[in-house]
């Protein structure tokens, strides 16, 4: 079986036995950073595990649109070790760039090594709720990815909209439990959506279960 393009820019798939794998073209051939499976078919691809990545999970669940394209500049809030960020880096390729921000030093140490080898990624050890502290270290971006599992997720996103180009995209992953463990996820997601709608267009949303329980991925666009 050979690698097939999907409707999403830079994302491919291939059948391996009875399983369909998601892939991206490896920007650093020969190198894998998270023990991910490398797949050869003329070029080298990396397996992208939807159980470890909410964006990949949304692709498996056939989200309408991702907004990620080759050449995009990306601000990634909550990049952690850089797993998903490294696939975003594959998708936007050499001309694109991913600013990877996280406030936990231990994960940023791992992230640093990934960014050192991938020329279109840079690490920032910073708090996403204090954009004034990293303003001078990034540029305007085409897309903001946010996955920070925090109570005030939408407020934090809004503070970062100043970095989004007009009509830029937003991929926001919301974990119900981080907002309130006692309340029903569906209700919380509705409230998040209402808040988002005050400033943004919501293009699509996908409940990520069973890949990620009580998680919702929102795709938004600046007005």
């Amino acid at each position: 079986m050979s690698v097939q393009a999907t409707k999403y820019s830079g994302i491919f798939e291939v059948w391996k036995g009875s399983k369909k794998l998601l892939l991206t073209k490896n920007l650093t051939p020969g190198r894998s950073f998270f023990r991910e499976y490398l797949f050869q078919d003329n070029e080298e691809y990396r397996e992208w595990d939807p159980k470890r990545s909410k964006i990949a999970a949304a692709v498996v669940k056939k989200i309408n649109i991702l907004g990620l394209r080759e050449g995009d500049k990306v601000l990634y809030l909550g990049a952690a070790h850089g797993y998903t960020a490294s696939f975003v880096s594959d998708i936007v390729k050499e001309k694109g760039f991913v600013y990877c921000l996280d406030f936990a030093p231990r994960v940023v140490r791992d992230l640093y090594f990934v960014c050192e080898e991938r020329k279109n990624m840079a690490p920032l050890l910073a708090d996403a709720s204090k954009p004034e502290l990293y303003k001078s270290r990034i540029e305007m971006v085409d897309i903001i990815v946010q996955d920070i599992a925090q109570k005030l997720q939408v407020e934090i996103l809004f503070k970062n909209l100043q970095f989004l180009k007009p009509r830029g995209y937003i991929l926001l992953s919301v974990k119900a439990r981080s907002i309130d463990v006692t309340r029903k996820p569906a209700q919380l997601f509705k409230e998040v959506e209402e808040k988002l709608l005050t400033k943004l267009k919501v293009l699509d949303k996908k409940d990520l279960s069973p890949l990620e329980k009580d998680h919702m991925l929102f795709v938004c666009q600046g007005k």
Binding site: P105, Y112, M121, L124, L125, T182
Partner: protein
């Protein structure tokens, strides 16, 4: 310098700046716990093995006495004959086990010294193990100094707390402070837990804000 290089450089520096010595407390209590688990597993394994030669001695609960018995080579009534090499091999294990136990002691002394320097009052009120576990669970000395004493009281009982919030099950009375001598012995454990958590909270605030 382009933005990428600038960010790599700044991140390198801020990673270094983010280091605080309470991280060593957290890492060392992890080492101590790992060593405990290694020791427990090895002791169980050696009891099983030595039990064919000296079944009653293998039931000795005191670990030190059990290890010593291995060097006495005293076959039990119920035991079978072990060859010289059978005994030597298990003695070799016993010898290394003693080394691991000594190593664990040294790690604990190092941990205690770290805490004397960083959080002497916490050390005094909570002891080495509970104190270090609390720092670990809070994530840092700073965070432990900032959270209310009611949270300190249930640190380490997150699952029970979660169940309580979600299903209305009984709220947990204590987390890792349960091991504190003045709780395990107390009549009204919930009350004792609240009192100890309060004392710990004051101690750790004094430690942190006097730095």
């Amino acid at each position: 310098m382009d933005l990428r290089e600038k960010n790599l450089e700044l991140t390198k520096q801020s990673l270094k700046d983010s280091f605080t010595r309470d991280i060593l407390v957290i890492q060392t209590i992890h080492s101590v716990d790992e060593l405990s688990s290694i020791i427990n597993k090895l002791v169980a394994n050696m009891r099983e093995r030595y039990g064919y030669f000296a079944p009653s001695l293998s039931r000795e609960e005191d670990v030190q006495k059990f290890i010593e018995s291995i060097f006495k080579e005293k076959q039990d009534d119920l035991g079978v004959v072990f060859r010289k090499e059978d005994l030597e091999s298990i003695q070799e294990l016993a010898h290394e086990l003693n080394n691991v136990r000594a190593l664990q002691k040294k790690q604990e002394i190092y941990l205690e010294n770290l805490m004397k320097e960083l959080c002497p009052k916490l050390l005094e009120t909570a002891g080495t193990h509970i104190g270090a576990r609390l720092i670990d669970l809070a994530g840092s000395l700073k965070h432990l100094a900032e959270i209310p004493s009611s949270t300190i009281q249930v640190l380490g009982a997150e699952r029970a707390l979660f169940r309580h919030l979600k299903t209305g099950a009984k709220a947990p009375k204590f987390g890792v402070i349960f091991a504190h001598s003045s709780i395990s012995g107390a009549e009204e454990k919930g009350k004792a837990a609240r009192r100890i958590a309060g004392k710990i909270s004051i101690a750790v605030k004094q430690d942190y804000f006097s730095q």
